[in-house]
Structure formats: structure tokens, C-alpha cells
Symmetry: C2
Subunit: 239 residues, 2 copies
């Protein structure tokens, strides 16, 4: 392999990393905008988040094309192959995060005219703050190739689940208190579910970052997976 | 390329196709079992669908590994590369369908003791019947490399959306009529949403099958994407 080939090969990997970084930043921004739009009833901001999703879809396709092209051209060694496969997985998870953020923004548009009490909106915003921190940390974990930070994010998903379950119950209570609350609480239930699923994708990214450095899958599934099937209440908040 | 190489190369592609076919069949079975479990309050059947998801996850990983290995070893020509990339995309969509079916089954477990009127359960079952037909047709479209059948499934997603929206409204009405309906209606809302999203993955598969044969993406996004942002009611049913 000539020096020139080595350099252009490195360029391929750097470009993949850059696109993932751009995708991650964009997904964070979309979730943040969608939640601000919900809090401030700002339909313009909601539309901004909705439109941004197109760029994210485009970037995912670019990562996929670039990854396949790089594998075809270079016949990479194991560690580089891992890097490329990881990029494809990350792009897929981040694209899904973008979809979920977009769907929250769409609900803000759909809720136009509904005015849920700020207290319940705050519940959803708190959940999103926790998930945004997870997302930021896991993107850092990937950028820094940090096994420790990946494991931290992975373990912390329990906190997201606990907060989600508590918000879920609170929303059900509001619905039962007064039928007039049902429509906006249903919107908020779906928003909360989307935020919780963004948290799941953050743990997927943690698993990929771990695999990237160690070449191994994280040991077993997280504990919550096994308990949901036998705990009705938890399972209720889990699909 | 020797004859032996050609033969083992074909074997790689055939193996990918076989794994996709197995995944597709398994995902159909899981959705069908989850809905039967809901209808008959059959917790054993629900557990069967939940457990089956592990096999699906494993198969997806196998497809991914096999695809990357094949690209690395063979430096495939464009049409074969398309076949391999398509297999990775399909495996990702079918794995997501399995997750969604598993989550319906988990809700059946969570609903243990709740007895929603059969009428509203039938609404969800009808939606799933439509989506199962879409899923069957789109897997056939892939197996037969049929552009026509792919396009048919792709266009028919509107029917799934319309039925979902109507079920969504019906469930909201039940919730407003009597607060005792709220808990099981919330479960059914999430089940319905999951079924509708399985429909979305079926249209993704249609897009991949179309790309596989033509080498081109389907022209533009489906009409529904653009209307949801401006139609509050439709948007309500869309995230």
C-alpha cells in the first residue's frame, strides 16, 4: 500500500466520523427545538425541527454509501472494518432519533389550540433534559473512543425509564380526573414515549461505541429487558 | 474469477436471501401471535412472541456480518452490491418490526386482568390484518423482485393510515366516555401505533425492493409525509 493510498484511506474514515458528528449534533438540536416548541407553543420552531429531518435522512444515506464504497475499495483490516460498520449502525440510530424528534415537533403542530397545564409539560421537558444529556455523553463517548463513558450512559438508561414511568402514571391520573385532559395528555404520552425511545437509541449508540473499541458486544442485555415481561406496570411503560 | 469462486459467491447471496426470508416469516408470525394473544387474552402466546424476538435480533446480526464479509471478500459489481446493501436494510426494518410486535405482546402481558370490550380489540385486530397483508405482499415483492408489487404496497400505506386514524379517534371517544376505559384504551393506543409503524416499515421494505431492481430510489416521499405537518388531526395520529 503506498503512502498516498494510506492517506486517502484515512480520509475516508475521517469523513465518516465527521458525518456522524454532524448527524449527532443535528439530532440533539432537533430534540431540543421540538421540546422548546412544546414549552413555548412555538409553531415556527416546530417546523424548523420537522424540516431538519430531511438533512438527517440525506446524511444517513451518505454514510451508508460512503461505508460500502470504502469497504469495496479498501478491503479493510478488522479494526478499520469495525469503524466502518460502527458508522453505519450509528447513522441508523441517529436517523431514528431524528424521526422521533420530528414526530414530537409534529405533535406540537397538532396540539395547536390545546393548552396543557405547564406542570405536565415540565414533566416531559425534564425527561428530555435527561435524555439530551445521555445523547451528548454518548456522542462524546464515541468521539473519544471511551469505554468508561459508554458504560456510564448504558447503565444510566434505568434513570430514564424510571422518570418515564412516573410521567406516564401522572398523565394517566390527569386523564382520569377530567375527560377534557384526555386529548392533550394523549399527545404528551406519545411525546414522552418518543423521548424514552430516543434514550433507548442512546444506549444502542453506547453499545456500538463499546464494540468499536473492544471488538466485543456488551455482556448480555440490560436488566430491564428481562423484568419488563413479568412486571405489568413496567411493561405498560415499555412499548 | 474461477468457476469455484463464482459458485461460492452465489452461495453468499443465496444465504443472505434465505436469512431475510426467515426473518420476514418470523416477524409475520410474531405480529400474528401478538394479536391472537391480545384477542384471546393468551399470555403463553404473548410470551412466545416475546421470546421469538431474540432469534430475530441474532439473524439481523448474522445478515450484517455476512454482508460485510461478502463485500470485503468479493469486491462485488454494482448489481450484486445493491443486493447486499438491500439485505442489510431489509434486516434492519424486519428487526424493528419484530421489536414492535414484541412490544404489543408485552402490553398483552401488562394488560393481564384488564378486559377491554371486544369491539375495540377488533378494531386493532382489523388494523393488524391489513398490515399483515402488506407485510406478506412486500416480502413476496422482494422474493420475486417485483417492481409492480412493491409499488402497490407502497401506495396502499394510505389505507393503513386511514384505518389507524379512525381507530385512534374511536379509542379517544371511549376514554372520554368513561375514565375506567382510560387504562386499557391507552394500552390499545400504543398497540395501534405499533401496528401502524409496522406498516411504515413495510413501505420501507417496498422502497428497498424497488431500489434493488431499478437501482433508483422511489420518486419523492409519499404524499402523507407532507400533509401531516399541516393537518392537525392527521398529525395527531402520526407520531
Amino acid at each position: 500500500m503506498t503512502e498516498h493510498t494510506v492517506r486517502s484511506y484515512d480520509t475516508d474514515l475521517v469523513e465518516l466520523r465527521q458525518r456522524i458528528a454532524e448527524m449527532g449534533g443535528l439530532a440533539e438540536k432537533m430534540l431540543s427545538e421540538a421540546m422548546q416548541a412544546l414549552l413555548k407553543r412555538d409553531l415556527i420552531l416546530a417546523q424548523t425541527a420537522i424540516v431538519a429531518d430531511r438533512r438527517l435522512d440525506l446524511l444517513q444515506r451518505e454514510v451508508e454509501d460512503k461505508a460500502v464504497l470504502t469497504i469495496t475499495k479498501r478491503q479493510p483490516v478488522a479494526s478499520d472494518l469495525r469503524e466502518i460498520v460502527a458508522a453505519m449502525r450509528l447513522a441508523s440510530d441517529i436517523e431514528r432519533i431524528g424521526d422521533l424528534a420530528k414526530n414530537i415537533a409534529k405533535r406540537v403542530v397538532a396540539m395547536n389550540g390545546e393548552y396543557p397545564p405547564l406542570k405536565v409539560v415540565f414533566g416531559a421537558v425534564n425527561l428530555s433534559t435527561l435524555v439530551l444529556a445521555q445523547l451528548k455523553d454518548v456522542l462524546d463517548a464515541y468521539a473519544q473512543r471511551s469505554v468508561e463513558l459508554s458504560l456510564e450512559v448504558w447503565k444510566r438508561d434505568d434513570e430514564v425509564d424510571a422518570l418515564y414511568t412516573s410521567l406516564f402514571r401522572e398523565l394517566l391520573t390527569y386523564m382520569m380526573e377530567d375527560p377534557r385532559n384526555i386529548t392533550f395528555c394523549t399527545h404528551l404520552l406519545f411525546c414522552a414515549k418518543n423521548i424514552e425511545r430516543i434514550g433507548d437509541h442512546a444506549t444502542n449508540i453506547a453499545e456500538t461505541a463499546y464494540y468499536l473499541v473492544t471488538g466485543e458486544a456488551l455482556p448480555g442485555e440490560r436488566p430491564k429487558i428481562d423484568t419488563t415481561a413479568i412486571s405489568p406496570l413496567h411493561a405498560a411503560a415499555d412499548s
